[in-house]
């Protein structure tokens, strides 16, 4: 035991000697690594990690020194308070850029801390419009926001599914509520009627009570703003209650996990929308998924490619500025433009991704199929 510890220590020393000449640059990654959506959190972290490893393999030089990027992964437990605590921890550890957080609810309060510290943050998955409306410099996202997504969901429900009566459920998180609110606006704008607006939590498994209430309003379409862990079981219970309505959910439900959890309740009546384009239609999607699976032993859940691009955006900006100092590379990050895994990555003046496309998917043959 002692011997192996010694050996380990020697190994550690060896590694740090080997890189003694290099400049170590820490990049933070924050996502929930415990709790009910930790599968998505790990997915994000792995996406960022893959980008870091790729960048290190390239042997990037900044300011004349070769750079070794290091990922500092933190767990925010999808909890806003923990989110600000770990954000502070990252700032104390002097990370040069942050990829995260996963949830809008944690990203918005944490963004204030990054803003004050002057460290750029790129979220791969926080879609709540408020994030980039705070007027903070250095806050970006690589995914389309809920205004874009909600208007697609609402329009699709009314026109695409010819659903005049729409029932909306959200999970009371910043993400779920934001998406549901935008959908509600779009449904009304498209001439549809909101027959029910119900609420649950991001920890619930039983939705029978609110679904029973919705059933009495006889909707054509049920829309859920929330994650796959709730959406899957919800669809099952919709079937159990004999509700014939079509089901639409946002990007939080556009995962293989959702299909697994909904089981035999999946049918051509289930739809989801997702910012960006599908994995197999992303310019580098197929190749990315294969490399991801080889490296981590599991396929992409949802946001890993966006986390990869977010990390690459930061690294590319550092290279362009020839500096890892946030103050120097932030102007470069604002005008970054490159072909990422998910498509062209460039930001508008608020920090939202430009050309944030939204795709509608329908369940077909065991998977989400882009329409």
């Amino acid at each position: 035991m002692k011997k192996s510890l010694l050996a380990l220590a020697a190994l550690g020393l060896g590694i740090s000697f080997a890189y003694a000449e290099d400049m170590v640059v820490k990049i933070g990654s924050v996502a929930p690594l415990t709790g009910s959506i930790s599968h998505l959190g790990k997915d994000n972290e792995n996406g960022a990690l893959l980008a870091i490893e790729d960048a290190n393999a390239k042997g990037i030089k900044i300011g004349g020194k070769s750079v070794k990027f290091e990922l500092m992964g933190e767990d925010d437990q999808a909890d806003p308070r923990t989110g600000t605590t770990v954000a502070q921890r990252l700032m104390d550890a002097e990370v040069k850029g942050v990829v995260g957080h996963l949830n809008s609810g944690t990203t918005i309060p944490a963004s204030r801390i990054y803003h004050q510290a002057g460290v750029p943050m790129v979220s791969p998955s926080a879609t709540n419009p408020k994030l980039t409306q705070q007027g903070y410099e250095g806050i970006f996202r690589t995914i389309a926001n809920d205004i874009q997504q909600g208007s697609v969901v609402g329009n699709f429900a009314v026109k695409g599914l010819s659903g005049g009566k729409v029932a909306i459920i959200d999970d009371r998180t910043a993400y779920g509520q934001g998406l549901a609110d935008e959908t509600e606006k779009a449904v009304k704008a498209a001439g549809g009627e909101i027959v029910a607006r119900e609420f649950t939590t991001d920890k619930s498994t039983d939705f029978m009570a609110i679904l029973t209430k919705i059933k009495a309003t006889n909707p054509d379409v049920i829309m859920f703003g929330g994650m796959d862990a709730q959406g899957g079981p919800m669809l099952k219970q919709i079937k159990q209650l004999g509700i014939g309505a079509k089901f639409v959910t946002g990007d939080g439900g556009c995962s293989p996990e959702f299909i697994k959890l909904a089981g035999d309740a999946m049918s051509a009546n289930a739809f989801c929308t997702m910012a960006g384009v599908p994995l197999d239609k992303m310019p580098g999607g197929k190749d990315f998924n294969a490399r991801f699976e080889k490296r981590f032993g599991t396929g992409v859940q949802i946001y890993a490619p966006y986390a990869y691009d977010a990390t690459m955006a930061i690294i590319n900006a550092m290279v362009a500025a020839d500096s890892v100092d946030p103050e120097d590379y932030l102007p470069e990050l604002k005008k970054v433009s490159f072909e990422g895994v998910t498509g062209n990555i460039s930001f508008d003046d608020k920090g939202d991704i430009e050309e944030g496309a939204v795709t509608v998917y329908q369940y077909k043959d065991g998977k989400w199929d882009a329409m």
């Binding site: 009910s36 029978m208 609110i210 029973t212 209430k213 996990e257 697994k260």
Partner: protein, 310 residues
């Protein structure tokens, strides 16, 4: 009308699970005065160990009838949970029996975190699909009211187990020893009751019920996850307090009442408050009821009947 009936049915199903888990809280409290916050985690371990058993059996022998698979799952889940509860009592709580009340309470919260983390390491972070071996295809006993066989079996199995437990506590020698220990450890041991054994047995019995509750819960919703024990654990604890903690009949009544209040509350809170409150207040609604009951009956609904404490 169908909507109300459906809501009552929804409430009964959820309430049965709460009641079964609440029994574990209340039995331990009755005997030790300890709130075992790790009890919800026992439910989770029950569901996940049954899942592992069922999926590995399905891999080996895919032709086994579903009910046999479910029975095998239960046969593994129950002893696993019993062992976990036994170790929990032996290693964490027994040493703290004479300590101030706060120490075991904090320990219980610690045990809960520990079990969750161990389960996360062992079963991973992802949600698992729990095979729904009892059919979930809804039946329509009354036009417009749906209930699936799995829900019917939840109500029946819970009722049966609760009846069995009450019989055990009130009619058997072991039950008498449990009641004696609940009254007074010292006197009970003077009367020849092995108090340590009885306390361990109480934990183990509660764990067996939680294991069954876990398997039923997972079968109903078709999912299992390392954090799944938290919510039902919290709700069952609330149910135990609502019914009068330490009281067996109270835990059962509390569970059913809480389930019904939640379902009916979620369904009708908007009508009750003329649109002022909506279903995002469904949990608050349940806790307002709890608060009201505790103001007028500080010992819970059935709290004063100390005679069948166990």
């Amino acid at each position: 009308m169908e909507t109300l009936l459906q809501q009552i049915l929804n409430g009964l199903v959820v309430g049965s699970v709460y009641a079964l888990v609440a029994l574990g809280y209340t039995m331990v409290y009755g005997i030790l005065g300890l709130i075992n916050f790790a009890h919800g985690e026992v439910l989770m371990i029950g569901a996940l160990s049954a899942l592992t058993t069922i999926t590995s059996l399905m891999g080996v022998a895919p032709d086994l009838p579903p009910l046999l698979l479910l029975a095998a799952g239960l046969l593994v889940a129950i002893p696993t949970c019993m062992t976990v509860a036994f170790l929990m009592e032996r290693l964490a709580y027994r040493r703290l029996r004479g300590a101030p009340r706060l120490a075991p309470l904090i320990t219980a919260i610690g045990v809960s975190f520990l079990l969750q983390t161990l389960a996360m390491i062992f079963w991973g972070r992802n949600y698992h699909t729990f095979p729904q071996l009892i059919s979930t295809t809804p039946l329509q006993p009354i036009d417009g009211v749906f209930i699936s066989p799995v829900q019917i079996s939840i109500i029946l199995v819970s009722a049966l187990l609760m009846f069995a437990l009450v019989t055990l506590v009130n009619r058997t020698r072991l039950g008498r020893a449990m009641r004696a220990t609940a009254e007074n450890h010292r006197v009970a041991s003077l009367m020849g009751v092995d108090v340590n054994r009885i306390i361990a047995l109480t934990f183990v019995l509660g764990a067996a019920l939680a294991a069954v509750a876990g398997v039923m819960f997972a079968s109903n919703y078709g999912i299992a996850h390392y954090a799944m024990g938290f919510m039902p654990g919290l709700k069952a604890f609330t149910a135990a307090v609502l019914g009068g903690i330490g009281n067996l009949a109270g835990a059962m009544l509390g569970g059913i009442v809480l389930g019904l209040v939640e379902a009916v509350g979620a369904g009708y809170i908007e009508d009750f408050t003329f649109g002022f409150l909506n279903s995002s207040y469904q949990d608050i609604f349940a806790f307002v009821i709890l608060g009201a009951v505790l103001i007028f009956r500080p010992t819970g609904l059935l709290g004063e009947r100390v005679s069948d404490r166990a």
